[in-house]
Symmetry: C3
Subunit: 371 residues, 3 copies
């Protein structure tokens, strides 16, 4: 039931009681159908669009001015609903589409962000089935001072060659989630669906979080067996563990984390099938600068094993709140690899773009509107 | 207008009357705009996800464990609305998308399930235009004890080589529907839109149904001229007639039907352009097993002309109702062709999958949530 | 906020005042959440489907009978919302999808019709970011007696070889819009996003309109630098200016306009990279023929520079209103090029189809339902 229908029903009951007291009938209003289709669905989304300039966007060093969707958060449109089944049991669903709002396109799978149904039992936890973000993703996002923004955060994926990343979303997933006092736990398995194999193409993750007062902390393990076709029983493994947290000092909030990623390939090791290990560190701070303005800033640093590129990105953003759900923003990032002499030392400010240079800077201004 | 807005309006009127009686104005509430966009649309859908194990999913006999969308019914998201035009006349529209919820994908045409507008006149019937399910599909679905479930029903399409099926959905369609007492009739034409031809690529169907008390029965004729490119005026014809019905004994409900399918090809007959005839029979039963549990079970048997494969599938499912719109389920199917010696004797439990073996079994458990 | 939620809130306030006066509490109703997701979104759309016969739809002159989506206006589904930010400031968003309702398909980019967010300040105007229709499109559409109908209008694009058209929609757009008394102004820039270039692939447009009493008039300039890959700094330019207007005489309304289009290619001029200039004129009239019926009719004539084809189309339509948002219609178009001797003299009634003949006629009947 959506808040809107709750409002309507409370009002119905309140007004009905009133009418009843006055000797009026209100039969129709009381007959609000229990199976009302509309009232079971809530539509929500984010429209986040801005203008960005980015240096060195081509191999020969040219910059580009762009209208960009998702300067702060991926633009999206979603449908969700929750049904109270009584006795602490509830059912939920979520369908969420990425909107590439600068061109009107959507993600490669339309509901590729979220497409799941779940059952939750208070005190025990719940099971979700479908496509969804990983527990590592959900537990970590609040601990990134840039909030996984495509421009400019490296927490989910560092813009380097080879890329280091943890699994953000999984198909064919079964997920558990539970909250026990200040602790929350989650685990997900993405079935590989390769006939005869229990490993190939699978994803696995487990997370434990702790939220108490000013402190929020979590640790996640993620193992994505994506792209494994070497044999049916073996698979290339992309393993990450992520430890992260925030502490709210009141006047400012501190964000810190570490992501340790290693790739264990099946088959002959090569440039396109590398074995590597890297560690990403991040540290940031946010603080209200006025009644309407909040500032965020910090750095991401990756210790890339086997190379001396070790890229560093400084990133910052300002929010100017127009309301609780609309704000203007400015965001900036500067990335630089330590050395600049080959494909393994390329980097960039944008996690989803092929790095083309040893250093890059970007600056964007935009609007985010939530609905 | 959706039920939600009806509620609001009734409430508006009720409260307005009340306020008026008390000398209050409620001008704004009365000014609820007649052309309110939101109130004209109802959002609905099904999220049906489960885990399924299926044997012999590869040519060399390997099984697979899957997260599956649509164990009972295809997952979907839809938008619909109805406008009362007065004098028994009404307009309706429907847009419905398949959701492949295990990966977040959608069907090949986004609104490929339903995309139509229609006008109905009480006592005469209505005309729909667009893309829609066929009358054969709509009249028959209630008579299949497995409800056309991809796992495990053969009513719309038998998992054999060559496949036998009737037309489920048609593009470029004009459809008539009417209800006269216990009788309902329907007819649809899908225009081929091949310049200069009245036959190529067309679909045609007509159905008559009867619903009275415990009995529901129907007969449908369907002729799909799909894939016809031989000449502009001739076309390969896939003809089916389907007779089916249910009888509700109170303690149990009986389901029975027969689908007779024949393919009349234009051009040289070959393995890829076969001429064939087959007859599918099904028989099933459903019964409440407890206050919350309902069981369904039965068989599908196809008499495949020209081969001795004659596949048989036993299928069953259990619903455990958590509410009127959410249930847990278990579903099982076992399919076997009589002989197992060649491509024409392959079969499978899943109608939409290429059969790979002479026998296959599947077992799934899942959640269906309607909204 | 949608009208529906406004109603609910007004009602909440009205009823709360009432209850308060009666000493009742209505705590829950007052707690209607400010961030209620559902109430922020309005769903709207058009389902427009009909049956059309069109002559000479193939090179050898064959006609075709079709079910067609968008006989009067493109079928669509949209989501929009507006937030009042106080002090005359507001935020808006719009996501709109084309629905090819005869097959259930959608446009090539799902939200390719509209995908934008904007901020408006009363008295100053607003800025939109994303993908959207051009100002030329929005300012001109009300001045076409056929309303840019795919069947049968040439205002946005003439069905000739080479095609002449102005830019209808742009990606990566920044748009200004403002209203000052009877005047409205608009300007849009579509960033090319070609690294190192400020011209390639860009679009630019500016419009001024005037609406006062019976008169509506506008002039637009549009320059689309699409398909420019010759060099990074030069680009092929498709320039149009469009002057148009309507005058409402009460008993009838007059529509008139002129579109002047020229193509200035970069690189070697050829059949596939032509330089050309053409001028389209249109003149039409609409009049209520009865309480329910409105008629529209007129012509489009293009003076094609460099050829003597100079195509002419006569077009007309009838609306039969079933309600304020549903009508039946009949529409007809006849197009003919002056001479009929080569690819540059082909024309057609349908702007989005490759012209195949020197003359063509079409006739359609259908239903349009708005929600």
């Amino acid at each position: 039931m959506t808040p809107a229908s709750r409002t309507t029903r409370h009002l119905t009951l309140g007004a009905a009681a009133l009418c009843s007291a006055l000797g009026h009938g209100l039969a129709h209003a009381q007959a609000a159908p229990a199976s009302n289709a509309s009232s079971n669905v809530s539509i929500y989304g984010i429209m986040d669009l801005g203008v960005e300039y980015r240096t060195r966007n081509t191999a020969d060093g040219k910059g580009v001015l762009r209208v960009n969707s998702g300067g702060l958060n991926t633009s999206r449109l979603g449908f969700k609903g929750k049904e109270d089944l009584g006795g602490g049991l509830s059912a939920q669903f979520n369908l969420e589409s990425e909107v590439v709002a600068d061109t009107g396109a959507t993600g490669s799978a339309f509901f590729g962000r979220q497409a799941w149904v779940g059952i939750d039992q208070q005190g025990i936890g719940g099971i979700l089935l479908g496509r969804m973000s990983t527990v590592a993703y959900d537990f970590t996002i609040g601990h990134d001072f840039m909030g996984f923004a495509p421009q400019y955060s490296w927490v989910t994926s560092t813009a380097t060659v080879p890329s280091s990343a943890f699994t953000s979303r999984i198909s064919n997933a079964v997920r558990y989630r539970g909250t026990f006092g200040a602790f929350k736990v989650g685990a997900n398995v993405g079935l590989g669906e390769v006939s005869g194999s229990v490993n190939a193409n699978t994803s696995r993750g487990v997370s434990v979080g702790y939220d108490e007062g000013a402190l929020s902390a979590q640790i996640s393990l993620d193992d994505g067996r994506t792209g494994a076709t070497d044999t049916l029983h073996a698979s290339t493994s992309n393993r990450s563990w992520i430890a992260s947290g925030t502490y709210d000092f009141g006047s400012a909030k501190l964000y810190a984390g570490v992501r340790d990623t290693s790739r264990h390939p099946v088959g002959t090791i090569s440039a396109s099938n590398p074995k590597f290990h890297s560690t990403l560190y991040w540290l940031g701070v946010s603080a209200p600068l006025s009644e309407r303005i909040t500032g965020f800033g910090g750095f991401y640093y990756e210790n890339k094993g086997g190379t001396d590129s070790d890229p560093l990105m400084l990133a910052a953003k300002l929010h100017y709140n127009l309301s609780k759900r609309t704000w203007l923003y400015a965001t900036a990032g500067v990335a630089r690899a330590k050395s600049d002499n080959g494909s393994t030392t390329l980097t960039g400010v944008y996690r989803d773009q092929t790095p083309l240079s040893g250093h890059q800077a970007g600056l964007g201004v935009g609007i985010q509107h939530r609905f």
